[in-house]
Symmetry: C2
Subunit: 112 residues, 2 copies
């Protein structure tokens, strides 16, 4: 199993919180999500990405970035890719997008 | 189905991003998560909460707060509740916690 946790660099840096509810069938979503993730990984200033989706289609994806400039460059490239591929396919019935400055960060693991 | 999206107030406000990987069986986790969620809802400065968990146990919970003072008060109460209930139960094998200032926020819905 791949490690689902993003690296935890020293703040400050930026987080993009994307919450979405998927429409029913996949309609190429999995492939598109993978391509977007690959695109992000090659983007300057990309620090990591975490994603979780419930069985009922609600999901949260958080990507981490060095600064706002990196987010803007990534957004332009992502929109370009999606515009090429999207056609009339629709994946979400609702989504929210928040851009945040990470101020503190820590990790933990419980001990038996 | 309940609305899984948190309200989207005008920034600035704060987000707590909690990513975690669950250990195998439930061991009272569901009940605890529900109690923590109830506790947060009654807390001054609480704006909303979103959560998604994969079938393989990796989850992201984001709670939204008016300011850092509200987060600190909530943390103290949550730790108190968990200390009372936790006993020797362990729910996570790893987690990360980030506190962020939300700078911009927007929503969208695709049109057919």
């Amino acid at each position: 199993m791949n490690n689902p946790f993003a690296p935890l660099p020293e703040p400050p840096y930026y987080a993009v919180i994307f919450a979405s509810r998927r429409r029913g069938p996949d309609r190429g979503y999995g492939e598109m999500a993978e391509r977007l993730s690959d695109l992000a990984s090659g983007q300057p200033g990309f620090l990591g990405m975490e994603t979780a989706r419930d069985s009922d289609g609600f999901g949260i994806t958080v990507s981490y970035w060095r600064d706002r400039e990196a987010i803007h460059a990534w957004r332009d490239n992502a929109l370009h890719l999606m515009a090429q591929r999207l056609g009339k396919t629709r994946w979400y019935d609702h989504y929210t997008l928040r851009i945040c400055k990470v101020e503190t960060a820590r990790k933990g693991a419980e001990q038996e």
